[in-house]
């Protein structure tokens, strides 16, 4: 009896330690976001108070008013949405076609193709900005959306293909075989059978591609010097010089850009995790 309860209390202690560890981990992960959120809703005098307050004394939306009243910030949000949106659509179109061929069809150079695609995800992005800058100038797309979209596509495409291949492989082959027996061509089997079935996987891939393009900074910062096309990732770091001592406005801008991503992650965490780890583990 005594032995049993001793081991039982050890189990409980273990569980307690485990949950303390978990809570600590979750806190460390989200604390910076919460703290910056707090910075964004307090008054200027509270912001500069020493020692700093832990909880906001009198919350205010003034910093958000400043940010949303700033036309360059509004435009940057629109620009980010356009760049990430177009990148996602193009990547999904070419990526799903290529991924289907890789997942389903037999051909000789498959492993070379996959290695080439994988190599891109390891590629140092900065290695191509010098030649691309020259070429983009020659064809005259510097300072247009395309200057960010084109390189974004190249580096998002491997991610798109990789995740889609693992989703396509999980789909039952029998259905396509049946479609082909009924006289459908490869393309028809893809469009009528695979695409509807793979919709959830394609949707997850779309979210991941969108996050990737939304977060991209190097290409946008290199090829877009005109604030009419700059995305939020380029505009917000510059707020440090625009709103020199208005730290609340800087915090509010950072929160506005991350909140949509946090919501996406909270809603689709299970799918995102399976999408992200599929390629890495099986590959």
């Amino acid at each position: 009896m005594a032995a049993a309860s001793a081991s039982e209390s050890r189990v409980n202690l273990n569980m307690l330690l485990f949950y303390v560890f978990l809570i600590l981990f979750v806190l460390v992960s989200v604390a910076p976001l919460l703290w910056v959120f707090k910075m964004s809703i307090i008054t200027k005098s509270e912001l500069f108070a020493s020692p700093p307050t832990i909880l906001p004394n009198s919350p205010t939306g003034a910093s958000y008013g400043t940010i949303f009243g700033d036309s360059s910030f509004q435009r940057a949000l629109i620009n980010s949405t356009i760049i990430a949106g177009v990148t996602t659509v193009i990547c999904l179109f070419f990526g799903s076609i290529a991924a289907y061929a890789i997942a389903r069809l037999r051909f000789r150079f498959k492993s070379i193709v996959m290695t080439l695609i994988l190599a891109i995800s390891f590629f140092p992005h900065v290695a191509i900005i010098a030649p691309l800058f020259i070429q983009f100038r020659q064809i005259g797309i510097i300072d247009t959306y395309w200057a960010a979209i084109v390189p974004d596509i190249v580096f998002a495409l491997p991610l798109t293909i990789w995740i889609l291949v693992s989703f396509f492989r999980e789909l039952p082959v029998d259905l396509e075989e049946a479609a082909k027996v009924d006289g459908a061509t490869t393309i028809q089997a893809f469009r009528k059978v695979i695409v509807p079935l793979a919709a959830p996987g394609v949707f997850t891939t779309a979210i991941l591609t969108f996050i990737f393009a939304w977060n991209e900074f190097l290409f946008a910062n290199t090829f877009l010097f005109d604030d009419r096309t700059q995305p939020v990732t380029v505009v917000i770091p510059n707020f440090a010089t625009v709103y020199t001592v208005d730290y609340g406005a800087q915090a509010a801008a950072a929160v506005v850009v991350t909140v949509p991503l946090v919501i996406l992650v909270l809603l689709f965490q299970r799918r995102i995790v399976s999408g992200l780890t599929a390629g890495a583990v099986k590959g």
């Binding site: 076609i97 069809l105 891109i120 495409l157 910062n221 290199t222 440090a240 915090a251």
Partner: protein, 304 residues
């Protein structure tokens, strides 16, 4: 002449490959994606390599100068600063990310209540744009309103403003990167752990293996493929660090990538050296990947 038969055989195989309608369809389907990748990624690399032997600027190729750009590059103090910072940053941050990430993965590799919450918490820092997390942390490092500066000064750990000290900035950047990507590392390792069948451990337990023995003899060897993928991925990602340094330090902390960026966009006099540096980054990253794949036996097979 001796190659003729194999040549003919090869051509025959190619004709068979492309003669088969299903296979031809497959090639048509991957061609657009492949074309984009080749034109926008591989061609610029080749062009960059070619340009690195010329006194080039953004308008014309200029005179052939041989290896002079590479020699000047290694004599450039900003490049050397960038190289040193990048190597320190990569080594230290990947080390911490791996150690902490593995600990977390081992701890949460079981069924427990609140799993979804933990998974969401893992993804939150990962989903941030890196520049935005740099902006957030800069606000916390800031010497007038920054909580970290306040606490560190109150505890007498530091006396100077974090944001105007190169060493503290580098340490700060390593902290931010560790915060941002450790959870992702944990996620990749956790996925690897979940592929190890439980009965292997049961058998080892029956045979009397201790916790340590089970970890070093079973977990680590079986986890090796996942570890190599995760560590290589993180290493190459850290090696190309740009946004974090750029946004956190007000453009003062140099990395290899910020050096190239400045040469392309800010001081175009340095364009030839910057271009040579981009070739240097590409080649060294390639060698690193090669080391993981050949030297450490990372598996790159993509077939099921």
């Amino acid at each position: 002449m001796t190659t003729a038969p194999t040549e003919r055989k090869k051509r025959g195989a190619l004709r068979e490959e492309f003669g088969n309608p299903e296979r031809r369809t497959a090639y048509y389907m991957i061609l657009p994606a492949l074309f984009i990748i080749l034109v926008v990624a591989f061609y610029p690399i080749a062009y960059s390599f070619y340009l690195s032997f010329f006194q080039a600027n953004v308008n014309n190729v200029g005179n052939f100068v041989g290896l002079q750009n590479y020699v000047s590059m290694f004599q450039n103090s900003e490049f050397l600063d960038g190289l040193r910072n990048t190597v320190i940053f990569t080594g230290v941050s990947v080390f911490f990310e791996f150690m902490i990430g593995l600990t977390i993965a081992l701890a949460i590799n079981r069924a427990f209540r609140g799993r979804g919450l933990v998974r969401a918490a893992i993804l939150v820092p990962w989903a941030f744009p890196t520049v935005i997390s740099a902006v957030m942390w800069r606000l916390m490092f800031q010497d007038q309103v920054g909580i970290i500066q306040y606490v560190a000064s109150a505890l007498n750990i530091i006396s100077q403003p974090i944001l105007s000290d190169q060493t503290l900035l580098l340490i700060g950047a390593i902290m931010v990167d560790t915060w941002k990507t450790t959870p992702f590392m944990a996620l990749l390792l956790l996925a690897g752990l979940q592929t190890i069948p439980g009965d292997v451990y049961e058998a080892a337990k029956v045979d009397g293996a201790s916790v340590m023995q089970r970890f070093f003899r079973i977990t680590l060897p079986l986890l090796k493929p996942a570890i190599l993928v995760a560590v290589l991925f993180r290493t190459l990602d850290a090696y190309r660090i740009y946004d974090l340094f750029w946004a956190m330090s007000n453009r003062e902390l140099e990395s290899l990538s910020t050096f190239v960026y400045k040469a392309v966009r800010i001081s175009q006099l340095n364009f030839p050296i910057g271009n040579a540096a981009s070739v240097f980054i590409f080649l060294t990253a390639f060698l690193l990947a090669l080391f993981f794949i050949k030297g450490l036996g990372m598996q790159t097979s993509t077939e099921e």
